[in-house]
Subunit: 446 residues, 2 copies
Amino acid sequence: MARKPSLTGFPEWLPAERIVEQHVLDTLRRVFELHGFSNIETRAVETVGQLLRKGEIDKEVYGVSRLQDDSALKDDPNALALHFDLTVPFARYVVENAGYLHFPFRRYQMQKVWRGERPQDGRFREFTQADVDIVGDGALPFRYDVELALVIAEALSALDLGEFRLRVNNRKLSEGFYLGLGLTDTAAVLRSIDKLEKMGAAKVSEELQAAGLSPEQATQALALAAIRASDGSFVDEVRALGVQHPLLEEGLDELRQVVEAAAVAAPGRVMADLSIARGLDYYTGTVYETVLVGHEKLGSICSGGRYESLASKGSKSYPGVGLSIGVSRLVSRLLAEQTLVPNREVPTAVLVALPNDGEWLRAQDVARQLRSRGIPTEVMATAEKFGKQIRHADRRGIPFVWFLGEAEAADQVKDIRSGEQRDADPSNWAPAASDLNAVVRRGVES
Amino acid sequence: MARKPSLTGFPEWLPAERIVEQHVLDTLRRVFELHGFSNIETRAVETVGQLLRKGEIDKEVYGVSRLQDDSALKDDPNALALHFDLTVPFARYVVENAGYLHFPFRRYQMQKVWRGERPQDGRFREFTQADVDIVGDGALPFRYDVELALVIAEALSALDLGEFRLRVNNRKLSEGFYLGLGLTDTAAVLRSIDKLEKMGAAKVSEELQAAGLSPEQATQALALAAIRASDGSFVDEVRALGVQHPLLEEGLDELRQVVEAAAVAAPGRVMADLSIARGLDYYTGTVYETVLVGHEKLGSICSGGRYESLASKGSKSYPGVGLSIGVSRLVSRLLAEQTLVPNREVPTAVLVALPNDGEWLRAQDVARQLRSRGIPTEVMATAEKFGKQIRHADRRGIPFVWFLGEAEAADQVKDIRSGEQRDADPSNWAPAASDLNAVVRRGVES
């Protein structure tokens, strides 16, 4: 982002930048729909009661009220506030519409979310998320955890951002291991392990011991977190640590299924990484994180996992598995580093020039013929000198200028990049496929 | 809308309904881009100062504040609030980014807006608008007013909603006529004429006379508003009323250009309707409204006009011309009347059945081959009885079920609507084009 947004934390893209963002959203949509995910959108607001259901206010929530009203939003659970993620609204949507949905319900959702964060680098207060989830009614086979890894690997490959790693772990594996070590507060251990990348092993070991682990237990927990593999070999490495627990076995088996299937269906994309904890979240099995190789500092661009209960209503619960892509953060990095760049700034492929003001309707007819074959076309509004009309196209990045033939002469079209000009018939001329639409290509390698 | 939204005024669509909305948005996007309009999005919030710049609070504005904060939003011009249209944010965007934009700047924008309306039928508090505008830097040739009429006529034709009329008038024409009648408060006359459809001619005449018009002047103003024509013949009808003014002449000439060009390029779609006033808005020349024939009660589904100054900065002003489509209101009507219906509820064309749980990776490979040729495909997660797997497809509206061949036998694909089943090769089988994607077609004629 070269320009500073006029409101901190609320980025806005220029038209050429929006082409990149739109390309990301279109690509995700295409892949998700190829895998049978339905799109939904939920309203931007939820009740305060719904958003703060768990009592925590760790996501900074924006309240919404009519300017005419004066009320203490915070104290009114029926007051409205902007959603801070797409999970809470999706849970409500599933419960409200369960009778109209078919389960397992496969949905993707790409919308803006808002968080009243204190401004700091890379933290947006308004940003777009793309979520993809499969939710069951009462039960959801484990296999969907494997499928989601394949879907995301395919989506990120389609984005062509360079090499990435989907790092997968399993909460049952970690928690079973800690239980096998004789620990009981497994959540606290997970929260410490989650800080490994930021704090390093020595500090985490200190923290674990401060929390009551023996030096040996801390060493074992860190040894587990050090294991990485892109095939099923991690199972033997874990076993070599000599810890046993039924939950550990269950987790090993599930993680092995994800990694082995991915080794076949998405080779090189997915790896077991036993340091992944996603400490504060409500996951109960598989957990996913994703890094762009060479851009590890960006953090995880796509995270998620399996949850036993997205929502519940009476005795019914809705387990699911899903991932969320931080589109705005990703796009802002792609733009800053010019990883993806548009071939031009406007949709337009052809500008029809005007020889004189009386020919405007004839020019519109040419444009109509070109558009009817999918060629984005504009017509000049005024008959300036041809040089000026060509400059108008050039400045806007339009590759072709069309000249109406006078008297019996054929029309001509000029590629203003090469200067080449030749006869053309509006009923059949077409640009090269690569010039037809504003598209995005790989830019600078960084 | 069959279901009642859980928050009044905040509609949410089911997946099949979202297909219809997405179809509308995709169609508009395609047409706008074919005409060289760039897409942008602006942030959801503006400062209260920006939104209430003109002192009026006729749009009900939602203030936004961190729940942790306590402040009187209304009294703080730097407080944040949700935008109530896309025009105010677009004006700010143009001024802020003028140095990065090429003028005339052609943009479309499709986003949600919020208004804290008192709940009532057909009034949403959150809804999607699609705006299309061309904005100049200092000046903008009149011809763009003609072009916008053609763009919108093409966009609405592409939506295939049935017959519609783009009703066009010109403020200069009406105001010049009133000035020629010797009236000075032309805005007041326009506001009364704007109520013609709701109140009828007799009441409007009373109101005009209460405002100081003579019976003859009121009669003349109403006679002007009664004129309609789908060609340039309205010019003579106006002249026959015997009123003269230079501004009237200018307006007649501009409106004639719009109607005559449309008669050639979009026959039957555009008409001069001299009752169109758009009373409260800031238009200065051409004004547009659009009705669906047979659904006149729905009101205008698409309105706009020419404005001399979208925004200004120092001595610079940005004139423009544009229209806005009320997408949510339109979609809610299309859904209620089943004007457009999807061919199925999910993107999926093919469900790959599982003969046993061990074949899941082989089934994924078939799915991968089909998807690589653009065929949306899902794989069963568990090997239930085939009858159950077929019912799973049937319930979700998936037209085809794929069966993996055992031993040397070929794979087979079953059209579960006809029951027809035949051999198929995942490397080359494809469904009929009409079954490939979830698409929308004309439904019940109403």
